[in-house]
């Protein structure tokens, strides 16, 4: 079995820790804040303030349920527009009070439905991409499990992207890829292998900066150790970025994304 397919199974393992497991282990005094101030409160994205090794931070996290009830409540971590707008509201609040923003990513993607379209799913994501790019405070994002497309990217415009060893981050799910490009969703595994979605691939493409090691066999085998690893890498990243002045911080962030792309020039005819 190829790494990507193996990991696809790992991140779908129902014992894989979620943000509800990690937050108490990584942060102190997490206090959840609700609502986007326009429409409602989306339980697929949780946000609030906390102390992180003594540093006040804002935490924004996509919530996978640990059981069917939690999953129903959090819509299997598929946010609606109001989730992204809550994230932006909290990020802006963090900017005002000069707190670093920590985004924890774990989503199959933004929700696809009538209400999501009516309330502007596309606009909500787009707005986050633009606003996060110029947010005047450090943003560190961590992909914990599934980094599903634009729904993940909306929390991943950051100064540094950390990725758990077995996490995946992709433009579309391997199943969707196979279904659209080959009209055959059963070729999911083949798609996963072709798509280059592992942490190592992301590092090579310059999409992520660091890979956070997981315990042997995956994060669920030792949640405590995984949380310690996340905490350690996150703390290093936060320390690296709080020392920059705002202009440097924003220039670096812009350039991190600006340079991604693979193209060439042909001779004009």
């Amino acid at each position: 079995m190829n790494k990507a397919t193996e990991r696809l199974e790992l991140i779908r393992n129902k014992h894989r820790p979620t943000v509800n497991d990690y937050i108490p282990l990584i942060f102190q005094n997490f206090m959840e804040f609700h609502g986007d101030r326009h429409y409602g409160d989306d339980h697929a994205i949780m946000g609030g303030i906390a102390s992180f090794n003594g540093i006040p931070v804002t935490v924004i996290a996509q919530v996978k349920g640990r059981n069917i009830d939690e999953n129903k409540k959090s819509n299997f971590a598929m946010p609606h527009p109001e989730g992204y707008r809550k994230a932006l509201r909290l990020a802006k609040q963090a900017e005002k009070f000069h707190r670093p923003v920590i985004c924890l990513i774990d989503t199959p993607g933004a929700f696809c439905g009538i209400e999501a379209e009516k309330r502007g799913q596309g606009e909500a994501i787009a707005k986050n991409l633009m606003e996060f790019m110029t947010l005047k405070t450090p943003i560190i994002s961590v992909v914990l499990g599934e980094g599903g497309s634009g729904g993940a990217l909306a929390l991943a415009v950051c100064d540094e992207l950390l990725v758990l060893e077995n996490a995946l981050y992709s433009v579309i799910s391997p199943r969707g890829f196979a279904s659209i490009l080959w009209k055959d969703p059963s070729r999911e595994k083949e798609a996963a292998e072709l798509m280059r979605i592992t942490a190592e691939d992301l590092l090579e493409f310059g999409v992520c900066e660091k890979i956070i090691p997981e315990p042997s066999g995956g994060a669920h085998n030792d949640m405590q150790l995984t949380a310690e690893n996340i905490s350690e890498h996150l703390y290093e990243a936060v320390k690296r970025h709080v020392k920059f002045n705002v202009d440097t911080l924003l220039d670096n962030r812009y350039n991190k994304f600006r340079k991604i792309g693979m193209f060439d020039f042909v001779q004009e005819e």
Binding site: A110, F111, C112, G113, I114, A116, E117, K118, R119, G120, Q121, G122, E123, I125, A126, K127, L129, M130, M133, T134, S149, G150, L153, A154, A156, V157, Y169, S170, V171, I172, F177, I180, L181, L194, M195, R196, I197, D201, L202, F205, V207, Y254, F257, R258, I260, G261, M262, F263, D264, F265, V266, Q267, E268
Partner: protein, 294 residues
């Protein structure tokens, strides 16, 4: 010279270098190329009449898809267009089978190296940076080249203090380029913030179809968002939504009109009034006409 004449002239020019392969447009719906069958109202219209009507359905006013050449002709002042980065071509970041071959074929048939054409031109005398996405090129999906060209266009416009007018059409991110295509959403959105900081105007014109990662990035970030009548605009595909929620969707779902009703589009503008509308917006924003231009 009136726009109709201009169109005629250029259509003539376009016909002269007909592509070797037929442009893979809505051919299946056009029996024998004599008739246009409207995908919205199912009415059948004579192709000649339909084309004379700027590819607008005479029966329901659906504004059908244009090639980038057609759009440019309908929008820019004659001979005012100077293209940017026309020789930029895609690489194959994930080694997707036959990707290069596909791009090469489309480059020939669509007469452009990629799904967006960018440059500067004037519109009724007003200088603008323009971008036109062409859905005939791999459904105008956004890969490295689309992302880079749009980013460069905004950076140039920010530097030169020019407004940007972007005609969007897209199936979304280009999956064949893997995660690199997703990153273009962030890159282009970042470039728009630079243009914002320069205090310049960005007008989006959403055309049929504007969906997926393009809706979820630069298309939705215009200061002013215009849409063409009956254009399909949305984030998720209709089928994906139907599969998720297991219920039928209303006919007008994700139409330009639906978006305006829900507050995501400023105005719906008929193709025939587009140039005039754009120029009026530009004037109100204190942009100055270039006098010499016809």
């Amino acid at each position: 010279m009136g726009l109709e004449d201009l169109l005629k002239t250029v259509k003539h020019r376009l016909n002269k270098d007909e592509p070797a392969e037929p442009i893979p447009s809505r051919k299946p719906e056009i029996p024998g190329n004599i008739l246009f069958k409207c995908p919205r109202c199912r009415a059948t219209v004579y192709m000649e009449e339909f084309e004379r009507n700027r590819k607008i359905c005479t029966s329901c006013n659906y504004h059908s898809r244009l090639t980038w050449q057609e759009r440019l002709l309908m929008t820019a002042d004659k001979d005012s267009f100077r293209e940017f980065d026309s020789n930029m071509v895609s690489l194959n970041p994930i080694g997707f089978p036959d990707y290069e071959k596909k791009i090469e074929g489309l480059s020939k048939s669509c007469k452009t190296n990629e799904a967006v054409v960018t440059g500067e031109c004037t519109i009724l005398g007003y200088p603008v940076v323009i971008g036109i996405m062409d859905s005939h090129f791999m459904m105008a999906s956004m890969g490295s080249v689309v992302g880079e060209k749009i980013t460069r266009a905004f950076e140039y416009a920010a530097k030169k203090k020019l407004p940007v007018v972007l005609f969007t059409a897209s199936g979304g991110a280009r999956m064949q380029e893997g995660i690199i295509s997703l990153m273009q959403m962030a890159k282009t959105s970042g470039a728009i913030s630079k243009h914002n900081e320069a205090g310049q105007l960005y007008i989006t014109v959403m055309t049929d179809p504007t969906t997926g990662g393009v809706t979820a990035s630069f298309a939705s970030l215009g200061d002013i968002i215009i849409a063409e009548p009956k254009a399909l605009i949305g984030f998720a595909g209709r089928r994906v939504i139907q599969d998720t929620i297991k219920q039928q969707l209303p006919d007008d779902f994700q139409s330009a009109e639906f978006l305006m009703e829900n507050g995501f589009v400023d105005m719906i503008v008929d193709r025939k009034k587009m140039r005039k509308t754009l120029s009026r917006i530009l004037r109100i924003h204190n942009y100055i006409k270039r006098e010499e231009v016809v």
